[in-house]
Symmetry: C2
Subunit: 209 residues, 2 copies
Amino acid sequence: MDEHEISKVVVKRLPRYYRYLGDLLEAKVERISSGELSELMNVTASQIRQDLNNFGGFGQQGYGYNVKYLYDEIGKILGLDKVYNMIIVGAGNLGQALANYVKFEKNGFLIKGLFDVKPELKGVSVRGIEIRMTDELPQFIRKHDIQIAALTLPKSGAEVIAPVLAENGVKAIWNFAHTDLHLPPTVVVENVHLSESLMHLSYNLNHMD
Amino acid sequence: MDEHEISKVVVKRLPRYYRYLGDLLEAKVERISSGELSELMNVTASQIRQDLNNFGGFGQQGYGYNVKYLYDEIGKILGLDKVYNMIIVGAGNLGQALANYVKFEKNGFLIKGLFDVKPELKGVSVRGIEIRMTDELPQFIRKHDIQIAALTLPKSGAEVIAPVLAENGVKAIWNFAHTDLHLPPTVVVENVHLSESLMHLSYNLNHMD
């Protein structure tokens, strides 16, 4: 199987498969047909078969998919069989919301540090993680082998901090700031632009058929 | 111009154009060529011309685009020339982060109420907005003509509350809960699944060329 041939569109859909398969596992479902999964996920059975065939075909004609096997394989493709050291830069409400979300840890994203620029936040603890000042970032990133940083700072702060993260070895940035970061191509950036999502909602609200 | 013919892919890109044009306006830039915009946004000039031609062509050959005009027109297409009454259901960190984000109000999304199920949050104020209990939702939605609800509750709560919102007249749900809501087709749902975004980041981190 050549993973590089999986199209971006299919990759985007994998986390949703992973979520549904996780729910099925919790409900102790062992096997599921593409038809049942189709009904549950509200996509066509043929799309499900096509998508999952990308990974060498986990399904057996007439027997359906083995839920646990499929869950684990998709998890591996998504890199969820590994553990990542992560920091959150920006300890406001959004940063604290991410720090409090325990499911990330369950998926292998370990939150090692929380950073901010506001002196009044120094030493405050969120879920046992002490907030540090951003001048400690370079040393902290190297010492704790941080691979991922969530950026929950305002735009101006994010643009200053992102290059510092990259220079010190951060390999992936989960960017919540309302700006497109300009970083070396060796750094992965995943944007969550909440304003843009709300505008998309507004468009759809105004263009319902 | 028939707006219904704009493809979903182009619509998804409009908020980003809107953001860049807003930045240009703030910087007092009056006109911009597709070439300059292309460099700024890191997309090809031909894609920009194609995308913007969807709206009847705001550009004049050789003169570039009028930034203010284009900004306003894209704003109208996105429905940002209107004002929306919005509530946030789930007043934890994430809900409070949304309530504190003033830029939403600037774009016409007025946060009228904040709701939770935890009695200890009753009466607490966030940016002057008092947290109410969810049993007040039906009356509040009708009285304040609420069109949009952000759902920042855990999955189980969201699945119970979403139909109540829809029954009482909410037309659009901005869903942050880790579940796909099952609602009548007359209700627009825009999902922000943070876990899935983080998994997508993890995939890319593991599949860099």
